[in-house]
């Protein structure tokens, strides 16, 4: 007769299916193989057991007290795989002794004879037992509604085999040990496509070789998890309104993390719940700020919905968090210089941006949660600058630099200051042209020709306007006042161009 090629079942596998799944297991070594099951009614029977036997104690051999201690000792002497015994005879001291002898002890509530019969069947037909295990696992997976839950089930089931869910090189859930390259470990990959997704996620498992779990078993278990993962994903996107609130709250939490942790050097760990939202916070996080040209407080939920629909088209893992007068999103990757995905997304979003009258600011790429927050701040500054460019304008922070500060000037208040201290100028009808001219000259470092070029007027016109401006109190040449007046002119120009109330008339 040919020996079957099926691997012996392990103690760990047996302990995961009924009848032992419901038992109290104290496993010294779950990878111990079990070759045979023996129902021992006497100590004589126990003495005749061969190594790798799982022994179920019964009757005389299970009278408790001394008998379990003696049975554990015999099992240790005979190199048995495990001792199964009824709860009525197993006390805390027995568990302690089993641990001391490094002998697996399984405490059952059911009839030892029934258990022994069931176990004997499972051990003699490992394939059937494994099928049973898969069925049980499928049930457990089906009960999970979250991505983390699914990965939790997989990792619990596959002890010693770390499993991770990876999107674009980033671990979204599970144990990142699955990605570490180690000798004697074989990495398994199973692709998971979310419905309508462009980017595919992968389940990765690191299977030790040789190990208790065969590669093909692990692979079939990973495949089992696929539908649950897809469902969990879909489920987590079902209700956008809930999601919006959820994301907003979650982002608030995330934002508080760097503040809560002391010291800059402190590595802030990315909270596990971020992966539940599909968010990634990785090596290179580049934030995007979508800002309305005319901020009018918190955008209504419907707008958020529309913006989300178009922004997330094809990039469902990219967050969209309503924040103040705009929306935050970000892209995570491993290469800080890789902006291809982002540029593509921006190109796809351009029509929507124009339609919703949005300006877009983009931060630089920074690592970790703290880095993400920094990038968000940069994106916001950039967005303010971008507003100057009108609907659909995109401003990268890398290219704004310190000018971004100007975008933050409280122009209205400055205009009020001007009303008070430059009364004559403010009363003048041509004030806009005068202010714009002085600004252009200051911006150009005093070069009249550059200023006239920028304004599109003749150099003499510039000179004439400067003279009149000086008369009206705009004494920009005095070094002590130059900076203040420069800022003031900038503010007035921004205010008037923003409100559209005044336009410099070409002379």
């Amino acid at each position: 007769m040919r020996r079957t090629s099926t691997l012996s079942i392990t103690l760990g596998e047996l302990a995961r299916i009924q009848p032992l799944a419901g038992a109290e297991s104290h496993l010294a070594d779950p990878s111990r193989k079990v070759e045979q099951v023996v129902l021992a009614e006497t100590f004589d029977r126990l003495r005749r057991c061969t190594p790798h036997v799982l022994v179920v104690l019964h009757d005389e051999a299970a009278t408790g007290g001394w008998s379990l201690a003696a049975a554990l000792h015999l099992a240790w002497e005979r190199n048995l795989s495990a001792v199964v015994v009824s709860r009525t005879v197993a006390g805390g001291a027995s568990v302690a002794l089993a641990e001391r002898l490094h002998m697996s002890l399984i405490v059952i509530d059911d009839d030892p004879i029934d258990i022994a019969l069931q176990l004997a069947g499972q051990v003699s037909a490992p394939a059937a037992a494994r099928a049973l295990r898969q069925a049980r696992l499928a049930e457990q997976l089906a009960e999970q509604t979250g991505i983390r839950g699914v990965l939790g089930v997989l990792n619990r089931e596959l002890q010693h085999v770390p499993v991770a869910l990876v999107v674009g090189g980033v671990v979204v859930a599970g144990q990142s040990a699955a990605l570490t390259d180690r000798p004697q470990v074989r990495q398994l990959e199973v692709e998971v496509h979310a419905p309508g997704e462009r980017s595919a996620a992968r389940l990765i498992a690191a299977v030790p070789l040789p190990g208790p779990a065969a590669v093909d078993q692990v692979e079939s278990l990973l495949r089992l998890a696929r539908p649950s993962l897809q469902a969990a994903w879909a489920q987590s996107r079902l209700d956008t309104a809930t999601r919006a609130a959820h994301e907003q709250a979650a982002f608030g939490l995330l934002r508080r993390l760097p503040q809560a942790s002391s010291g800059e050097a402190a590595e802030i760990e990315v909270p596990a719940w971020t992966s539940e939202l599909g968010w990634q916070v990785g090596e290179a996080n580049r934030a995007v700020w979508l800002a309305p040209l005319r901020p009018s407080g918190e955008p209504p939920a419907e707008i958020t919905y529309l913006i989300r629909a178009s922004w997330q088209r094809g990039h469902s893992t990219w967050p969209l968090v309503a924040e103040g007068d705009g929306w935050i999103s970000w892209h995570s990757g491993t290469d800080p210089d890789d902006v291809t995905a982002l540029r593509r997304a921006l190109a796809g979003f351009r029509d929507s941006a124009v339609a919703h009258r949005l300006a877009i600011g983009i931060g630089r790429a920074h690592p970790g949660v703290g880095g993400l927050m920094r990038s968000v701040a940069e994106a916001r500054l950039a967005a303010h600058v971008a507003r100057e460019g009108g609907p659909g304008a995109v401003q990268w922070f890398d290219q704004v630099g310190a000018n971004a500060a100007l975008a933050w000037l409280p122009t209205t208040e400055i205009a009020q200051v001007a009303d008070l201290c430059l009364e004559d100028l403010m009363a003048a009808k041509d004030r806009a042209a005068l202010v714009q001219t002085v600004l252009a000259v200051l911006d150009s470092g005093g070069s009249l020709s550059q200023a006239s070029q920028r304004l599109g007027v003749h150099r003499n016109t510039v000179l004439a306007r400067l003279a009149r401006a000086r008369q009206l109190g705009l004494t920009y040449e005095e070094p002590g006042q130059r900076l203040a007046l420069h800022v003031l002119c900038y503010a007035l120009t921004s205010l008037w161009s923003e409100t559209g109330t005044e336009h410099a008339q070409p002379a």
Binding site: G64, G65, A70, H73, A93
Partner: protein, 369 residues
Amino acid sequence: MSGPAGYIGASASITAEDVPALYEGAKFYSPAVGDANRSSITSWLAGLLDRNGPVPLLRVEAVAPETPCVSVCVLGSGSAMADLPPAGDEFEMAVRQIERLQRVEFGAVYPLAAATISALVAVVTAAQLRVPLLDADGMGRTFALIHHTAMHLSGVSPTPLAAVGPTGESVLVEVPAGPRADRMLRANVDTVGGWAALAAYPTTAGVLRRAALPGTVSRIANVGRLLLDRTDPDVLVTRLGTITGCRRLARGRIAELEHLSRPSDVTIPAHPSSLVVEETGGLGRQLRIELRSEIVAVFADGALIAGAPDLIGLLDVSRGVLATLDSLEPGDLVDVLVTPADAVWYSPRGMEMVGMASHGIPLAHPRRR
């Protein structure tokens, strides 16, 4: 058997001054029952010895072979006896009943078991009857049932026997087969208050020369003197070893007491329980000590290291005294001592009767492996 120097055996007498040593030594050979009535039992015996004079302690060979002899013991629970002390005449009454039945007058008394209170009541009875006490007994320690004796192994019948309770009520038992007597008596013992004075194994000194275990009364007196010395436990164990052959198996703290975890045989008094002791120092082993009315087995990490008929006792290390089984508490630091029993108990018939198998432990005795 030749004892070490200072051995009081051969021909001596027991006086009131010997009572404390007898009590302690008797406890060594059966550490079951606590000291709840030590003072009253010892003052009773000491008072008798003061009033009636010392009791001669004779080797069996020193007594004429045709001398009628009878054994006495306390049947039942020491705790019951502590709570319902003897009126004082129970043992004498039991002996007199057999004398009347057999129309004899006993010329000597011997303890059925030279251990626990039973050793002392034999002296009481001898003092009351004003006859000598034989330096011999039937067990050399205590066993659970009254036919667990060297006399029974030699074919001496325990009956006719008489049992008198503290209530003054009595039963007289005659059975053709010794082992039946114990079963008949147990129910009666419960009825008369949990213990009874037993007079049994009426026979002659000549029979006892081959059927009884010699020197066992003087032995407890010698052991008792050592125990009263209150020496350091380590020194004490060494000294006890020279007299009794005892040695220490381990020292540890009591971690747990387990009860009724398994079915018990109702014919054997006291249900099975077991004691878990964590060895301090040494190998740090987990000891499991199986209790019936006595300690019947000791396992170290599940391996049997001592068992009945070995005499196994516990020494309370911090107090330097023997620990009795009814006063054990988790946290107590104890030495586990094992002393070989008399050779007769390691014979096949002895092992069958009082070995571990009789307590439901189907393992080979460590001495046999």
